[in-house]
Amino acid sequence: MSKVIVVTSGKGGVGKTTTSASFSSGLALRGNKTVVIDFDVGLRNLDLIMGCERRVVYDIINVINGEVTLKQALIKDKNCDNLYILPASQTRDKDALNLEGVERILNELKESFDCIVCDSPAGIESGAFTAMYFADEALVVTNPEVSSVRDSDRILGILAAKSKRAVDGLDPVKEHLLITRYDPKRVEAGEMLSVTDIQEILRIPLIGVIPESESVLQASNAGTPAIHLDKSDVAEAYRDVVGRFMGDERLPMRFVTVEKKSFLKRLLGGR
């Protein structure tokens, strides 16, 4: 059975697209036939982070309007065999992304893919709603700050009340909390919320904590999802997330406490 997974948050700039790119890559690396869809019409940038922007010819709106087939619009990822990208449109009107059209596309994708990852735009308006409406599971991306937690809470309320699963009276959307841009030092200094604080408010299961790291910016400039980086905390953290998503519950939660630098590391000036 294929799964539709939405990466959502309410707030912008928290790491949804970064997460969609790495999470879908990680699923593909573990052998799942995966497609990642950019729902951020007008602000297309998943293709940049995936490093395929020069290969975009058609987009999701072309498919919805019946101008091209799904096969013509899908772009094969350069790093993973099992991964395809369905880009957003940069030029079209957001309202072209209607529920009926999206449902048709998702149903067609379900015939050949195990995992369908939907990268949601920010906000709670139509674009974000369309991205989450058909979800079976949700990664709720949250930064350790009050406004982000508040927006995630709102999104969880909408998922519980207005998603197709809620409307049809099916089992609820399975919710996962993903905390990103986590900086244990600033948490210890009392400048940011802790993992425990966030869980206390949102009360959904934690699927992972992604540390704040400069390597994310380097990866996105290079057009390579962060999960492919060598010797990077962020890559390890995203791999853990994929592992937990696939059912490995024994993985310890890493990158949540301040790492004590060893004497040698300090001497060598490593970070």
Binding site: R150, R154, G157, A161, K162, A166
Partner: protein, 139 residues
């Protein structure tokens, strides 16, 4: 399209609005019970009845009841009891962290935070004349 988060589907279908003039009100309506979190932007209205909430009520969420409200979890949002003017309505909270509480239109906001002796404590709220009284629940 915009999304309303009034969350009408959480409301009990039995509590549709009725015309109070032409109809004899039943002696009581069954308590509305909510057993999941009430989140930012959601509003629950127990019309003509009491309201029991078992999940957390987060900041930016709103509970309204014509009768009493019982919350067996932290209250971080708003709770409005006796919404149609019942001055005997009460609010019972497992952990008081609220933004606003109100009984029969008499309300209190906590602009400067909740007093230390009540914050995070189990409390009950009732009206004494026009004073809103918040008392710790003794255990």
């Amino acid at each position: 399209m915009t999304i309303e988060t009034d969350n009408s589907n959480v409301l009990d279908p039995n509590t549709q609005r009725q015309n109070p003039v032409s109809q004899v009100l039943p002696t009581f309506r069954p308590t509305m019970i909510i057993n999941k979190p009430v989140r930012t932007g959601q509003r629950i209205y127990a019309e003509g009845s009491n309201l029991v909430v078992l999940g957390v009520v987060n900041a930016g969420a709103e509970l309204i009841a014509d009768g009493d409200i019982h919350i067996y979890a932290p209250l971080r949002g708003r709770a409005i009891a006796g919404a149609q003017g019942n001055e005997n309505a009460r609010i019972f909270v497992h952990s008081l962290e609220a933004e606003l509480i109100s009984v029969a239109g008499c309300f209190k906001v906590f602009e400067n935070g909740i007093p230390e002796n009540l914050r995070g404590k189990p409390v009950q709220v009732h009206l004494d004349g026009s004073d809103l009284i918040i008392q710790p629940l003794l255990s």
